[in-house]
């Protein structure tokens, strides 16, 4: 029974490969079915190459502002081919790394397109993409447990379907042949604003159109407003409460009709349009309907331990619903693996899933926003601390930023933390740990934060919530 596994993961993205490695660690016989990219979107066409691009943008930004630091930089410029080449190289390196880790953990990689034919049975059709070395060929496989980890793909709006040339998704935006002179971005979620920051730094004239009244719609209002002010100061144009109702394609540009909430209609012409209006789960062509797998709004319905309504069938990551974030997928992969192995799996608490956006300035958050905390009926204490009061931030030349903390006034429980500014994506984890450990304000106040670090703003924000910030 060479083709029989304890568990098969369909999809080798952050959910699938991490879950597979964890299952292998627990002594299970594990296989991963992949049709296109080992490691999935994240290392190949998502988080990692995007961060590589943004790093180039950040460094170029510093070079452009060399004078602020008493430095001289002349004849500066962007070699977009070089920027993309670096990004693609890093993507390849990370993808290879995933392949190596799977091999090291004796996880079989099965190459092709998977379809569930019956509970515990998968038929794998060969894929047009070249198989990596050592991958098993298409065929029929069986497993005691099957985990759907097929991820998600960009959502396409009717009439504004991406065409790879003028209307881009993140795929094209991650590997441009040239920098468009002007760029229209539909959607101001993480993907939208990250590309806005990147292309603005690369010299594009960038306009963001957001349907909702605030950019970064899942973030705290105040943090989003702060980020918006900074974007606009950089010259990014932002239209909120605005809808792209029509797009007409020209020879080498697009003209979009944009309706704003006040009823005004305007047309905007740009070289390229990036459609960043969210992603939808890859639930099609898997044979889910025939097995009666429950889905809801394009995602597989699961419980806290990642079980679907069909015994032996599990789902994790983007395909199992929001928040569609790599680290949430990884975590669910581990939960599923541990539940399958019969170990002690802890259920997912989505409130504890942090979010990081690598625009400039960065945005990071965990837990409830101020609005949601109030809606949930909490009586809250809110602490705010601006970067201007932090010596390290000022020394870095990053004196704009804000750390906001939200506590339950009754119990001192940390309900949420929301940060905008330099390095906040690396700092949020402090608050994530605090929330997971159920700290109250007392432990955070009593903790010693190292000086001089930007992280001192976290401490001060907590102090501020209790009316005792020092540097404010």
């Amino acid at each position: 029974m060479a083709n029989n596994y304890d568990v098969l993961f369909i999809g080798s993205g952050p959910g699938g490969y991490v879950g597979a490695i964890r299952a292998a660690q627990l002594g299970l016989k594990v296989g991963v079915i992949e049709r296109q990219y080992v490691g999935g979107i994240c290392p190949n066409w998502g988080c990692i190459p995007a961060k590589a691009l943004l790093r180039s943008a950040e460094i170029f930004h510093y070079i452009e502002h060399a004078k602020d630091y008493g430095l001289v930089a002349e004849k500066t410029g962007v070699d977009i081919a070089g920027v993309v080449k670096r990004s693609r190289g890093i993507a390849a390196q990370m993808s290879n790394g995933v392949g190596f880790l799977l091999k090291k953990n004796k996880v079989d990689v099965i190459w092709g397109q998977a379809t569930l034919t019956a509970p515990g049975k998968v038929s794998v059709a060969s894929s047009a993409e070249p198989a990596p070395k050592g991958a098993l060929a298409a065929g029929d496989y069986t497993a005691k447990n099957i985990v759907i980890a097929t991820g998600a793909r960009p959502r396409a709006l009717p009439g504004i379907e991406p065409d790879k040339k003028l209307i881009w998704t993140y795929f094209e935006a991650l590997a441009p042949a040239s920098v468009p002179k002007s760029l229209l971005i539909m959607g101001s979620g993480a993907i939208g604003v990250e590309f806005a920051s990147f292309y603005k730094a690369m010299g594009s004239d960038v306009t963001i159109v957001e349907l909702l009244p605030q950019i970064l719609p899942v973030e705290d209002e105040e943090i989003a407003a702060h980020a918006r002010k900074r974007f606009e100061k950089q010259g990014i144009k932002i239209l909120t409460g605005a809808k792209v109702s029509k797009v007409v394609k020209g020879a080498d540009n697009v003209t979009a009709t944009v309706e704003t909430a006040d009823g005004k209609v305007q047309t905007l012409t740009a070289d390229r349009l990036i459609s960043a209006v969210g992603v939808v789960g890859n639930i099609e062509n898997l044979g889910l309907e025939a097995l009666g797998v429950k889905t809801d709004r394009g995602c597989v319905v699961i419980d806290g331990l990642c079980r679907t309504n069909v015994p032996g069938l599990w789902a994790i990551g983007d395909v199992a619903g929001p928040p569609m974030l790599a680290h949430k997928a990884e975590h669910e992969g581990v939960i599923a693996a541990e539940a399958i192995a019969g170990g002690h799996a802890h259920p997912m608490d989505k409130l504890m899933v942090p979010g990081c956006t690598y625009c400039m300035p960065q945005v990071a958050s965990v837990g409830l926003t101020e609005k949601r905390a109030k809606e949930a009926g909490y009586e809250i204490k809110v602490g705010r601390f601006p970067f201007i009061g932090n010596g390290k931030a000022v020394a870095l030349g990053e004196s704009e930023g804000l750390v906001k903390t939200i506590f339950d006034a009754k119990t001192g429980q940390l309900l949420g933390a929301h940060l905008v500014g330099a390095e906040v994506t690396e700092m949020i984890q402090g608050f994530v740990l605090a929330m997971n450990l159920e700290t109250t304000e007392e432990e955070l106040i009593n903790a010693v934060f190292p000086h001089p670090t930007v992280s001192e703003t976290m401490h001060e924000s907590v102090l501020a919530a209790y009316g005792r910030a020092i540097h404010m």
Partner: protein, 462 residues
């Protein structure tokens, strides 16, 4: 085990006060009843009495400190056989609400002095013991939030089974724990002397803390059942309110129960006669009295006979009501919900008026057509499960009511009358009383009055 002395609340609404004066010094022996400190607020000065015997090991908040939050650790008492120095040293490591202490420069001193005495045995063996979490056997692992919730609720951490990693007690575990373990809660260690009957600061039942754990509660529950073998039914608004209010009542109202058997043969006979002689109205009897109508009337009259029991809870005072406004629990949606419409001034109404009004209110309650003023407020409530054959039961008080009457079925039982076995129709009723509002004797008077009236039902007609 050492005893923590916390800043007492002089009233349920007090949040902080001034520590005016220490009447005992560190090292002084203390006996229960000794006045150890004086606390003042803008309204009053009160004495703090010791509850336990021991030696005042450490004063953590010096006298003259203003705005000390309620429940802050102000001193530690070493009990008999304990090393006073060790207790004093250990107390410094306790989380003496350092943020509050630090607001007052003087108060911060004891905390900063800790390292000097750190080698003392207690500090060395468990430097991070947090008072509440400490047991003779060692340390209880609990999250900071769980510790705080336990303290507020008066739950001994050592008695709580932890569901976190390695048995760590987490906030969700406290939500399900019952206060009042073997030892009195730390918060009760120091009670202001004249306020022996004043409650400890009524801890709000932290629905806020319980709220985020809903998802966790659900996932844990679901982990026990195969998907597909159950259906998930979200709470509707009414169920949510019932759950919240009943949980709050159960957790915050110190309730005692009094049960009496009522002989209702005379009542049943009177009822039959009255119903037979009901005047016709539109071709139908003008009224059809139920046993419950008599119960409502008798309960209303009982409150008039024992007016001091006709009170509701108002935090730092009572509201003594003039009329007997009696709520009648009505099951709606086939038992999926509950409303308690109120018969106002029931003591002034005739049985037939009560009967007709109850019927009208019940019908409209079932159709969810009641106006809020028809089910809000009231003196007390009646829950009657007699029609379901329930013999006797206890009901949960619906705050701010101080009482609720649980009425069982009227059934024939063997009773002893004048030394002889006899058959009587007996109805068992149990009254739940809020001990904050009344004591046992008052509750007994009330239920006694009810029994007298129900057993001599003619008195209801005059």
């Amino acid at each position: 085990m050492s005893v923590e002395i916390l800043m007492p609340a002089l009233s349920p609404t007090m949040e902080k006060g001034n520590l005016a004066k220490w009447l005992k010094k560190e090292g002084d022996k203390v006996a229960p009843g000794d006045v150890i400190a004086e606390i003042e607020t803008d309204k009053a000065t009160m004495e703090v009495e010791a509850i336990d015997e021991g030696t005042l090991a450490k004063i953590l908040v010096p006298e003259g400190t203003a705005d000390v939050p309620v429940n802050q650790l102000i001193a530690v008492l070493a009990t008999e056989g304990e090393d006073v120095k060790a207790v004093a040293a250990g107390s410094g490591a306790a989380p003496a609400k350092a943020e509050a202490a630090a607001e007052v420069p003087k108060a911060a001193e004891p905390a900063t002095a800790t390292p000097d005495v750190a080698p003392a045995p207690v500090a060395a063996s468990g430097g991070y013991d947090h008072g509440n979490g400490k047991t003779p056997g060692g340390r209880v692992f609990a999250s900071p939030l769980a510790r705080r919730l336990a303290k507020e609720k008066g739950v001994e951490l050592a008695d709580v089974k932890g569901s976190g990693p390695h048995g760590r007690v987490v906030a969700a575990d406290i939500a399900g724990a019952t206060p009042g373990a073997a030892k009195p809660a730390a918060a009760a260690a120091a009670v202001p002397a004249p306020a022996a009957r004043a409650p400890a600061p009524a801890p709000a039942p932290a629905p806020a803390a319980a709220a985020p754990s809903n998802a966790a509660v659900l996932e844990l529950a679901k982990a026990y059942y195969e998907p597909g073998t159950y259906e998930e039914i979200p709470l509707d608004g009414m169920r949510r309110v019932i759950a919240q209010r009943m949980t709050e009542a159960r957790q915050t109202v110190p309730t005692f129960y009094l049960t009496v058997d009522c002989d209702v043969d005379a009542l049943l006979k009177l009822r039959e006669e009255l119903n037979k002689s009901a005047p016709e109205k539109d071709g139908k009897p003008g009224y059809k009295l139920s046993v419950n109508d008599f119960v409502i009337k008798a309960y209303a009259l009982a409150f008039q006979q024992v007016p001091d029991a006709n009170m509701v809870w108002g935090g730092d005072r009572y509201l003594k009501l003039k009329h007997s406004d009696i709520g009648v629990a009505v099951a709606i949606d086939g038992g999926k919900g509950l409303l308690t419409p109120i018969i106002r001034k029931a003591e002034t109404k005739t049985l037939s008026a009560i009967s007709n009004e109850t019927r009208d209110l019940a019908i409209r309650a079932r159709n969810k057509k009641l106006a809020p003023n028809e089910y809000q407020g009231g003196s007390s409530a009646i829950s009657n499960l007699g029609m379901f054959g329930i013999k006797d039961f206890t009901a949960i008080i619906n705050p701010p009511h101080a009482t609720i009457l649980a009425v069982g079925a009227s059934e024939q039982r063997a009773v002893v009358k004048k030394g002889e076995l006899a058959v009587a129709t007996v109805m068992t009723v149990t009254i739940s009383c809020d001990h904050r509002v009344m004591d046992g004797a008052m509750g007994a008077q009330l239920i006694g009055a009810f029994k007298r009236i129900i057993e001599k039902p003619m008195s209801m007609l005059v």
